[in-house]
Amino acid sequence: MFRFQSRQQQRLDDGGQINRLAPINFTFDGKKFIGFEGDTLASALLANGVRLVGRSFKYHRPRGIYSAGIEEPNALVALRSGDRHEPNTRATAIELFPGLEAKSQNRWPNLLLDYLQINNLLSPFLSAGFYYKTFMGLPGWHFYEYFIRKAAGMGDGTKFKDPDKYDKKHVHCDILIVGGGPTGISAAVTAGRAGARVILVDNHPKLGGQLNGERYFLDKKPAHHWVEKCVEELDGLENVTIATRTSAFGYYDSDVVNAIESVSDHLPEPLDYQCRQRLWQIRAKKVILATGATERPIVFSNNDRPGVMLASAARRYVNQYAVKPGKKAVIFTNNDDGYKTAFDLVRSGVEVVAVVDSRKNIPEHFEKELNEKDIEVIASSVVIDTYGYFGLNSVKIGTLSHDGKTIESNSYIVSADLLAVSGGWSPNVHLYCHSGGKPVYNDSIEAFVPGELSQNGHSAGASRGSFSLTDCLQEGHNIANTMAKALNLEVAEQIIPETDENTIVPIEALWRVPGKGKKFVDMQDDVTESDITLAHREGYVSVEHLKRYTTLGMGTDQGKTSNLNGQAIMAQEKSEPIEKIGTTTFRPPYTPIALGPLAGRDIGLSYKHTRRSAMHNWHKQNGAIFVEAGQWLRPQYYLNEMEQPSKENMDKAISREVQTVRTSVGLVDVSTLGKIDIQGKDSAEFLNRVYTNGWTKLPIGKARYGIMLREDGLVFDDGTTSRLDECHYFMTTTTSNAAAVLSHMEYYLHVQWPELDVKVTSVTEQWAAMALAGPKSRNVLSKLLPTIDVDNESFPFMGVREVDIEGVPARIFRISFSGELSYEINVPADFGELIWQRILEVGQAYSIRPYGTEAMGIMRIEKGHVAGPELDGRMTAADLGLQKLLSTKKDFIGSKMMDREGLKDKNRPRLVGLVPVDKKSRVKSGAILVKDPTLAPPVPKLGHVSSSAYLSPTLGHPISLGFVSGDIIETTKKIWAVSPLHKESHELEITDPVFYDKKSERLHD
């Protein structure tokens, strides 16, 4: 088993939570390495002695691994390749998997030789706001910007389509526990025993949190025994769900917490049935935020070299991963953490040169172990500077003056390849802040802690500033019991295990060390101490402005290790307490998340519903080319068997369809029209209020065309409504307004006129509808209904019949959209295809032909009927030529507002027909109408083209409908249509909007 050891020169022979029997191959920048199961990419790189892993954002300085968790500011790598390539992933949070491929970023041509490291030499000029100050004033910012942005930045994205699937799930629970460290586990055990429905989420592959990275003993046994015992108990409880590799990233209104579960990110690729990630939307009655704390650095010169890392990270690498992050270590601390680090490192065979403690007094209880391990402690001292370009090789140590503002002259240099730094711990208050809470500053731990509660999310343990392990365990138990009580559950017992920790000696704040050189506050964004002091000198007083000016905390790590240091330095500059400076707003997501799980499966064809009519399959099998109409798929036109889809064949098909309807008979699927069933004894009165025309006298068995206005007096929708019985009406709406018209009517029935006895129900999908149109349609109908009189007297225009077509109940409406004699036949959707086929069979004698939306559209334009493009919500009834439908005898929706002066203006644009002067130009709908296309802008707009038929087969040339200002219609016959984006302009003749059968004789006979 030690075969692999030879190449992992920094790996310890035993210990850690890695599986030495499971070696894993991976590559970094093309070089092959081996790590073990249980490693992260960072720990495996360190095991192999790799310290340099990236270049910094702005100065291209060599950077290494700084942390051992999601807070990592430096070790950002590009993971995988091809369509699974993912930039800016944190090496410290990537579980090692076989064949893992990682590349360093932000360097060219390679990591050792990066040409842009010249920025580091130029850095005295590259202060906060440098690029804007220098280039924005000069002409050609857009030219510079390209190169400036190229020089800065992170990894590149992939241009390929994401091959992976993502899922979403909605879950509910009594108590959600975020964080599976000691606090979270303790809380879960108590809440679970109390019988609460518990969800425990943790972003690591296994529970334990900080216990995994430390050498704690619980009840005199290594802490993992306790963790395993608890997990075993929790696994046995049906009311407890444990979700590992699940990162809660946002806390929203109503105690909803969203989390991303990494289902297969730890595998080379997802298994066949697996999604890559899953979004959990968790709705909890109570939330326990056991999110722990993050260690922060101390700001001193060249504190960013590979080999400098957080003290807790150094401990985690030796304890959890059995990796020595260096051979010779200096520890720099302002709190007790440094000592724990020293002991763990020495125990693992790392030579500890010194513990540099900025405090005056060394905690007494450490002395025994310090002596035993022969560790030198240098009190009242600081690390002033570091050396080693590609990796740390020595450290300069000095004594801090009494006021802390200068360094005594007795400084000296020691050699070391590891510098473990602890500036204290900041509670992870992010989710608490998302929930609406405002953190407050706590002097005793020198960090922000949760303040007042905003929702039902209670912080416990380290995330509320309780850093002792005993406190964490106790608080988790207590809060869970308090919540159980509030949820009326039995309170549960739990014996809190005994810990072996020492009492904590208070931290003494040390934010920065005096001295020259680059002192990094935010390593990911290359923000230095001098950037912050510069911002202060330039008058930035708000911490929010400081953030935006210097970009402090604006990287993908959201300043997890840098925010407080930056704010503290600002506070020192202003000589104000930190609590007065405040903190910036934390917003979701807590960690960077992919967009995939937010979209889930709602992509591509699943992005929205696809609605198909009952006759869809027939259309598909019979040459239909479909077009999307809202969510519907409708046949646009039908190709013959011999025809291939092409522009010419499309024109041919459309012409053929129009000519068939105009001369013989055609059949079109109109199932998509909105259909609303209206019942109740006040239905007539209701329609009278909804429509602009009169409805009280409509007899049973008759249909009527009507328009609806909005309250502001503009036209909302049109359609026909038929009276089927005394108290039973059937309304049709335009396809696009079907849902809106239903809601509109429901609003008036529920909110304004609840006294009316009317019920409205959408029946769009219950009825299949088809229009049989053309001079021969009556012949077809009479063959279809041999026992019923369908002559003009028995079944007149606007007549409605409920009949039986060969045993299928049907409603037949004699209404016309095409301008021909026409019958709209509705049958229950299940019989749609049957009756459709039957009609085509019967119609064969008259060369019947199905027609699509194109032919239908052309015919309604020929007839001057308004449709969706004309009913655009900006038109009055008069604009559309429908003023005769406005009753003066009654109030209706919109009747009050429609008479306003502006809406009655004679010069408003109104509906006209438009014909290209050359009789062949195809005018785009949406084209703007102007007097003369050669005029210099601004050119007054005289109207627009709303609908265009590129060829009217009936008239032999293109026609359009449009709107032209009233005064222009009076004085001019010609006008120009322009589409500047298409560089088109065409001269048009203004005509009557009805091009065909002006007296409507064809549909009445």
């Binding site: 929203y252 209104d253 109503s254 909803v256 709705r283 609406g436 309250e711 502001d712 809601s743 429901e746 609003y747 529920h750 909110v751 304004q752 609840p754 109030d891 009747s895 009050k896 507002m897």
Partner: protein
Amino acid sequence: MLIINCPLCGPRDHAEFTYVGDATKNRPENSDNSNDNAWYDFVYLRDNPKGLHQELWQHSFGCRCFVKVLRNTLTHEIIATGMPKDNLILKEKGLELSV
């Protein structure tokens, strides 16, 4: 992420609802010339209050009922729900109108 207590269906996720608007506006009874201002107010004027607000939501993906909701626009807290004609402010007596 709100929960709206539909008077007919019970508590439901707000994703089932469609926001309609201000529920404090009354539609004038008729179209007389005497009530121009009342109409103008009903059709066009909307306050943007900070704090408690009565608004209408339609339970579009449920019973399709219009629900009156008393919501705090500052905290998003939903204090009460009822039928469109209910006066939720009076119902929740003791609550002040502004925060």
